[in-house]
């Protein structure tokens, strides 16, 4: 189950490829400006550290662990790079790694390199790092909170990269989004768990063995409750959007089969359903899906805040 996210040439239309090259070039340009005055000065020479850690990400992608016969989880490393180097330098490192994979190993095409960097480097690392920081802030900002945040972001980064890849293929006319999206999101929701577990374990290992290295990295910050709430809302919104893509694209396979075979009525409904079929009774179609999504978001934020309180009480005691 190799995460097949490196698009080869020929599968994206030239227009989409060029558009994503432009988007990637702009964001990498910003990253280059940001790293020239970075706050993460691990060692004096940023490019040397970035270069060697690029080789590290490359090598770390070889580590896999078998999930079942013939299926193994392995690392993409985007969020890990973002956590260790900061979002901007991490993005440059991932862009370099993806570029070298295309040039030297033919893993992904050249004209579509912009798209591949966008999906895995920009969405995965830049987006993932900000999600990780946000989640860590929302959880109370301790070291363990930041590692849990990175784990959650690692999962989200893999799933989002898969989603973006499929949408680009769909826009290019090389895949059918209504079939491809649930399939890709479903497979990568599993792969993402492997990514999250490895990321959390690696960061925990580094935090325990060499805490001094991590001192300068993603320093825990204090944030006001309002700010934390705002960040939580943004993240939960992202997750809710992804989840509703799932829900709308694949209207519950088992239910569909049951309906066809005519035994849907024979099934018992659940003792209680908060939002039956993700809709609110009395509201129609899209509006009710949106309201249900928002209510779900509030629940997620509540859970996040509760976990944050728990994390803080654990650090105090």
């Amino acid at each position: 189950m190799y995460p097949q996210l490196h698009i080869p040439d020929g599968f994206l239309s030239p227009q989409i490829s060029l558009l994503l090259w432009v988007a990637t070039a702009v964001l990498i340009g910003i990253a280059v400006r940001k790293t020239s005055r970075t706050d993460v000065q691990l060692i004096a020479s940023q490019p040397i550290l970035m270069g060697v850690l690029g080789a590290f990400i490359f090598a770390a992608q070889m580590f896999n662990f078998p999930v079942a016969t013939g299926t193994s989880g392995h690392l993409l490393g985007g969020v890990l790079a973002g956590y260790l180097l900061g979002p901007w330098a991490g993005t440059i490192v991932m862009a370099t790694v993806i570029g070298i994979q295309a040039l030297l190993f033919q893993d992904g095409g050249l004209l579509v390199l912009g798209a591949n960097i966008f999906n895995m480097g920009v969405i995965g690392t830049l987006g993932g790092s900000f999600v990780a920081r946000g989640a860590s802030t929302a959880l109370g900002g301790s070291r363990s909170a930041s590692i849990i945040g990175a784990g959650a972001a690692a999962w989200l980064a893999v799933v989002a990269a898969a989603g973006f890849t499929t949408l680009q293929l769909g826009l290019s006319g090389t895949t059918n989004v209504s079939i491809g999206l649930p399939a890709m999101l479903g497979v990568h929701a599993l792969i993402g768990i492997g990514e999250a577990l490895i990321t959390v374990a690696a960061l925990t290992f580094i935090a325990q063995t060499a805490p001094d290295i991590l001192v300068g990295v993603s320093a825990p910050r204090k944030a006001s409750p309002v700010r934390r709430l705002a960040i939580g809302v943004v993240i939960a919104g992202g997750v809710a959007t992804l989840a509703s893509l799932f829900a709308s694209a694949d209207p519950d396979g088992l239910e569909a089969v049951a309906e066809q075979l005519g035994f849907l009525d024979a099934g018992l409904s659940a003792p209680f359903e908060l939002f039956p079929d993700y809709t609110i009774p009395g509201l129609d179609g899209t509006a009710s899906t949106v309201v249900a999504g928002l209510l779900g978001m509030i629940v997620v934020i509540g859970v996040l805040m509760a976990l944050g309180r728990l994390a803080r009480s654990r650090t105090k005691s």
Partner: protein, 259 residues
């Protein structure tokens, strides 16, 4: 094989490859004759460089598995139906238009991979980075890419040794008779994460040593000093030739009959 242009200006090779891949990507679906022309040009260039077409063709197969992404449109598009029928409870149809898109994408991917294989025959990885730096790639990226290439094999070798050590200690995680050796999935993930973590620490301390060594020799954090080879004097002529090639391929795509 030793790349031809070690220490030479590789800009012409890089530009040719990018232009060729772009020209191939621009071909409309179904232009098999134009794709055949592109492939003939490529294998001819390969033969001139001493690479057999069979070897190139096999290297091109790397991109093959991605065609899975294009499979749905073969069955889901409703135009130019070639066949429709029932297989057991399933109703299936095969769309000619969908088949054409999938096949064209597959051929384009196969040809493009061969083009980038040829680039590596023409130019060594460091000379490609130098060429890209000449083409205004930001210095941070060029330096970082150069060092990544430089330390890639070293760290991959380290990773290989760590994996061998893990295999030697925990045996195969899923054994012959499907008996599970080596703990739960979470345990296996943690072991893998620990390997990643310790590889990071080794890479980090290596970066520190490189930094100290470089600083003691007066380095400023960029590899760009004094490493540029002489500029290719015939670059302009070569680029004009490349543009002509792109034009020929695009015209072939527009004029040759499509199936």
């Amino acid at each position: 094989m030793q790349p031809r242009s070690v220490g030479r200006d590789a800009r012409a090779a890089v530009i040719t490859t990018l232009a060729f891949v772009t020209a191939v990507a621009l071909l409309p679906p179904g232009s098999y004759l134009a794709l055949l022309l592109a492939w003939l040009l490529l294998t001819f260039a390969g033969a001139l460089l001493g690479i057999s077409p069979g070897h190139l063709a096999r290297r091109g197969l790397v991109a093959l598995p991605f065609v899975v992404a294009a499979v749905p449109i073969v069955f889901l598009r409703n135009d130019e139906l070639l066949w429709a029928g029932n297989i057991g409870p399933l109703t299936l149809q095969i769309s000619g238009a969908g088949l054409r898109i999938a096949l064209t994408a597959l051929l384009k991917a196969w040809i493009s991979v061969q083009a980038s294989v040829l680039l590596l025959v023409l130019a060594s990885p460091p000379s490609i980075v130098t060429a890209l730096r000449r083409m205004r790639l930001p210095d941070v990226i060029a330096t970082s890419a150069g060092l990544t290439i430089r330390y890639l094999e070293l760290l991959r070798d380290e990773a290989r040794r760590m994996l061998r050590a893990r295999t030697a200690r925990s045996a195969s995680p899923v054994g012959v008779g499907r008996e599970r050796i080596g703990g739960t999935i979470a345990w296996r993930a943690r072991t893998t994460g620990n390997l990643v973590g310790s590889l990071f620490l080794r890479a980090y301390s290596r970066a520190q040593r490189i930094e100290e060594a470089a600083a003691s020799r007066g380095a400023t954090g960029s590899l760009s000093v004094g490493t540029m080879p002489d500029a290719d004097p015939r670059l302009t002529i070569k680029v004009i030739g490349v543009l002509a090639l792109v034009l020929v391929l695009t015209l072939a795509g527009a004029l040759l009959p499509r199936l």
